[in-house]
Symmetry: C2
Subunit: 726 residues, 2 copies
């Protein structure tokens, strides 16, 4: 206000005072960046950028006559107003240069003369093009459907958020997966299984009467990356969700999500006909059971005409299923598929099965169970396969089911919540993990048969395709428990839209949208993200080790644990370490899990000389003294990997600390605190693991390596009765 | 912006553009009123009001040399900047008219010449006075301690928020209770017992490494009403909180709360010496047990020098306690008091005890147990007594312990969370309930011996005094699950500071601070609040009925229930209704609970002609045909009360609906949704209760009364397996 005395113009003085008032307002902590906005963060651009964009956003022409187009209009106004610091005008047609004209050909007939070719866009695609319309320069967002218009609106905003030019646009995009769906492992009492971001966002108690505004923001965030469905309840399902009074609640949620192109799905408990219907069996071939499910489907579709369908975890970890009646998974899936088919609903049947009573290698069991069923599923069944053969470990080879069931559409199941990767606090960018899996070559139809091409239907000509992400979303203010966890939700959505995208590009977009458009922030942050996944592999489970975490809660290292209720829940089952060596022999001379892969892959994994270091101990049991490609012994390299993982986290912290002042204080401080936690826990993983391996192999630490900070007994005595997510 | 074309001055145009940008920014939903700000809502005042206040807030003179004074400075700047739309200047001394000068005499020596009389202010009091200082008109906030300065700062802001003049101030205030404390029934896994606002705000998992900014805002809110302590964990205590690694977490919370004058307390599990110390007993007279507790206290105070002390629920509802060793409650409390005394800590020992094995009226048991112990407690023990003899019902007579133990300081325990009053969604202003209890006359030392005068120490000359509120705070964005629940936290704090205050005045302040300064809002909202408590009594438990809610979850009516594990958990125990009559005979010819009150009170409650209608069925069993003062039969009046309760809720809805547009959309809509829920549930309470009473008494509905909407069987069949708060 030092210039205030020079202000003579009374109006200016009034404005200046008002500005000052507003400046004070903006300084208030209510405006703290608490992360709620996610990547839909429409803060004002620097003046020069805003000015240049304003020329391309002088007015909006969008007939908001449907809820979805109304959502597109609201989002464009919100985004443009915020980013460009303007009150974007609206018009019925382009009346000046710089209009944005959006719609389908039916809702925006002025687009018809442009003869846009929309055929290849399908239901969800859109084009964005710079054109001349009614004599004015305009940007067109066109699509075959309203939801395509909404997706296009979000894409236009992304262009502005990420600093792309709006001149001479000619962009068209359509999703490569049909079903892009989040799996909420949310229980009806609000607890989220393996959730580390508070309770469920679904307030079943107050539904259907109270519709939390958060549901709308959830839908906005999902639509912005193209996610078009949500399974609202845990795969370890409670039949109560299928009761009529709960279906009314589900319908209320569906009503909020619908304008954003999202369908609701439910996890169905296979034994529901007994629990709710009073039947004596849930045998999928029993006529009364089939009638019950058909009736239930009819009831659901009366309330929710666009209901997506069922997700089912059957005969897995104690859940009921068709095998309880000596029926196959196909029998079970098809029975539900038949109930849903009249309404165009689908079944997502999970392939995550393994049995303690089966003496065979757990990593082989899903393939063994499901491969023989190829071709036996109804057309509206997707088989939902976790990325690896065990369970969402920091690194696994791709599941051998990918490529092994060409007559069955396989759907990817990724985990977005970090059950095995440090819960809420560790910074681990999962885009890198997803990309590694999607780009893995199955050789199912020769070289280039990537997992991505299998799940997008290209390789085997499937029309029904999909990708599921186990959500990391909860009631925490920042949705995901940490700023960087938001990137995993974002990356999942982007890759579900198009599995061929680059994880680094996605990270770059996310950073620009979420944190800063300043390259001095974007470059180091993207580098942190891209380094983070290898770091967690190294400090937790390097060189192909897996499943060494604390039993039950999955927090921290417990490689010594042999106490689990089932052999295949015990870490010692997986590492098989003793005085002489370590690793699970899955080669031809071992469990022969390698044989489940296509020949070229099997040959590579089977051969000690060819297997990548990253999978060495996944597929082979080798002596501690085994000579690695590096020239060092296995023991030396193993310890080096652990130490490297810790050092990488130190580097993440150092990089982040240099960004202080370039990122708002609240989000800066939270990530800084979390990186400190991550460093401590990375050190703990390293030290506890090394202490245990040494207790077996009796080997001295390699030269230059620091000994564990504590004794093995100390680490063994740690207990975590209140670990979240259980 | 219709004037924009007239703007010629280029600077003005720039400013106008910036203003426009800011206006757009302000329209963004990130600024939606989600209730997080509570009553510390420093939104800009209308221009005329702001202008007049600015003359009294031209600069701030406050030496922020301690954390508490820094908090006072930050709050004043935040509040004044926000409310007055200015950037409040700061100075080392008053250099112009309108300065605010705040401090102790030591930190603001310029106040010394004013010869302010601070003696009566004590540790927590303050004065606010309009003075002339260094030749300038100034407003002084002075206190003996930094926390007094902070309290004074909040009071000054309240004056502005509620529209009081700042001229010619001469205000002094000091609390009448010493210990003003919230009881969090928060478990270490994050679940809040009887919490209806999400999970615990205490993130034990990430403590002590991550300090959620919410902890600071929690402390600000509490300090603003004078709450000076918090018991962080559930009275149904887990000994784990006393483990060293958890004490480090507690110390981290204490560090955040300390600048705001808040001490942390813990609920202590009586058997902790066995569970943590490996002792074979927790006998309070056992030397090893005493040594263990002394050591634990020493350990705590090393980490938290201002630790407040222990809250204990012993030999109550299954909790361990001294009676397990045939020792008295005094033995148990004194043992802990001795451990804490060297550090000036206190014990808050709960009097909430009752036993299923005791055949005597549950309402009598706490008195029977504790009255004989009067005078046997150490000087640093407070006996914490619930407001009524049963358990936080919509209405209870005051506990007969108030006034019955003159040699023991009794501390009030109010419930702020609405365990028995409709959970999060019902609008029930508890200020009215608190006031009714505090103003109740015990006649312990003759007329005028109000409960307020007992708990503030006046009646029996106690220096150690206190009031506890069972918190309604959780991780929900609006802290308390609803906007109006915030008023209950606020009212508790205000009454803990001074139990003589008027509930209506407090409601008025709260409404002005939280919702609007517009009388067109304030008057109807305060009327709603003041009517709401009698409404809930009427639709749930009119005329002295009590404890008729669903067993276990405490949701909804279940007067027919006789299935509870214990007789004294069964609704039928409390209403004793049959074909002929209803009510619990606690008169001299019944359980004689009336005899626990002072003679004049006992006489009134005992006499059917004198007992207030509100307590009729609490103290008397009467025929359905009993003729009431109104001239109607009991049955007629009972039904009329139920109906009246429902009608009152309809009226609340009608009043609220007229405020649409005068309150921000988000908070308006949430309350509107909740009032709809409340109306449905009030109707359910009425209808289910009437249906049940009719099934007993066979009486027709009084003329003009609508029959229940459903059959009794329908209401009996309802089940709520996922009710929150259990």
């Amino acid at each position: 206000m030092r210039d205030q005395r020079r202000v003579r113009h009374p109006a200016l003085r009034g404005v200046a005072l008002a500005l000052l008032a507003v400046a004070a307002l903006l300084a208030r902590p209510a405006l703290a960046e608490d992360g709620y906005e996610l990547w839909l963060r429409y803060r004002p651009l620097p003046a020069a950028q805003a000015t240049s964009y304003r020329a391309h956003a002088t007015q909006l022409v969008l007939d908001a006559g449907t809820p979805t187009r109304a959502a597109a209009r609201a989002e464009l106004l919100r985004g443009l107003d915020g980013l460009l610091g303007q009150a974007t005008g609206e018009a019925k047609q382009a009346t000046r240069d710089g209009a944005i004209v959006a719609g389908t050909l039916a809702s925006a007939p002025q687009l018809v003369p442009l003869k846009l070719d929309l055929r290849a866009l399908g239901n969800d695609g859109f084009l964005i093009r710079s054109v001349t319309l009614d004599g004015h320069a305009a940007t067109v967002i066109a699509a075959n459907t309203d939801i395509g218009v909404l997706y296009g609106a979000f894409r236009l905003l992304r262009l502005v958020q990420t600093g792309q030019p709006l001149a001479q646009l000619d962009l068209r995009d359509a999703p490569r997966e049909k079903v892009r769906v989040l799996n909420h492992w949310d229980n009806l009492d609000g607890h989220v299984e393996r959730g580390y971001a508070g309770n469920s966002i679904w307030d079943w108690w107050k539904l259907p009467d109270y519709l939390d505004p958060r549901y709308t923001d959830y839908a906005r965030a999902n639509a912005s990356v193209g996610i078009n469905g949500a399974v609202l309840n845990n795969v370890n399902a409670n039949a109560t969700i299928l009761r009529h009074e709960y279906l009314l609640k589900v319908a209320a949620v569906a009503g909020v999500l619908r304008p954003y192109g999202m369908r609701v799905y439910l996890s169905a408990r296979f034994s529901a006909p007994m629990e709710l219907g009073g039947l004596k069996t849930a045998d999928p071939l029993d006529p009364a059971v089939r009638t019950w499910w058909r009736g239930k489907a009819d009831e659901i579709y009366k309330l929710i005409p666009d209901f997506g369908g069922f997700l089912v975890k059957a005969n897995s970890e104690g859940q009921p299923g068709p095998q309880d009646y000596h029926r196959s998974h196909a029998d079970g899936a098809n029975m539900l598929a038949d109930a849903l088919a009249p309404h165009s609903g689908i079944v997502m049947w999970r392939a995550f099965v393994y049995s303690n009573e089966n003496p065979d290698d757990r990593a082989k069991q899903a393939y063994t169970e499901f491969k023989p069923l190829d071709g036996q599923f109804r057309r509206n069944v997707l088989l939902q396969v976790k990325n690896g053969p065990i369970d969402f470990q920091p690194r696994e080879p791709f599941s051998p089911l990918f490529g092994a069931m060409p007559r069955t559409p396989l759907m990817m199941e990724f985990q977005v919540t970090k059950e095995y990767l440090g819960f809420a606090t560790h910074l681990v960018y999962l885009g890198a993990l997803y990309e590694e899996v999607l780009q893995a070559d199955t050789y199912a139809r020769g070289k280039g048969s990537t997992v991505a091409k299998i799940i997008d239907g290209e390789l085997d000509n499937h029309a029904l395709t999909g990708m599921a992400g186990v959500a990391n979303i909860g009631s925490d203010r920042d949705w995901c428990g940490s700023t960087f966890n938001q990137a995993n939700w974002y990356a999942f959505g982007r890759l579900a839209w198009n599995p061929a995208q680059s994880a680094r590009d996605i990270a770059t977009d996310w950073t620009r949208m979420t944190l800063s458009r300043d390259d001095a922030v974007v470059k180091p942050v993207v580098a942190m993200m891209m380094a983070s996944r290898e770091a967690v592999v190294d400090y937790m489970t390097p060189l192909g080790l897996h499943h060494l975490m604390g039993t039950g809660h999955h927090y921290g290292p417990m490689p010594w644990d042999a106490s689990g209720a089932r052999a295949d829940w015990r870490p010692v089952y997986y590492h098989r370490a003793d005085r002489n060596g370590i690793g699970f022999d899955r080669s031809r001379t071992g469990s022969n899990a390698v044989a489940q892969y296509a020949a070229p892959v099997a040959a590579q994994f089977d051969d000690l000389k060819q297997v990548p270091d990253a999978y060495l101990l996944w597929f082979h049991h080798v002596p501690w003294t085994y000579r690695m490609r590096s020239g060092h012994t296995l023991w030396e390299d193993l310890v080096a990997h652990y130490t490297h993982g810790v050092d990488e986290v130190k580097q993440l912290r150092a990089t982040w600390s240099k960004l202080q002042g370039r990122i708002d204080a609240q989000r800066y401080a939270k990530t800084a605190s979390f990186l400190a936690i991550q460093q401590n826990e990375a050190q703990w993983w390293r030290d506890a693991s090394i202490a245990y391996w040494q207790s077996l192999n009796g080997l001295p630490l390699p030269a230059g390596q620091k000994p564990p900070a504590r004794t093995l007994d100390y680490y063994k005595a740690l207990a975590f009765p209140n670990a979240p997510g259980r």
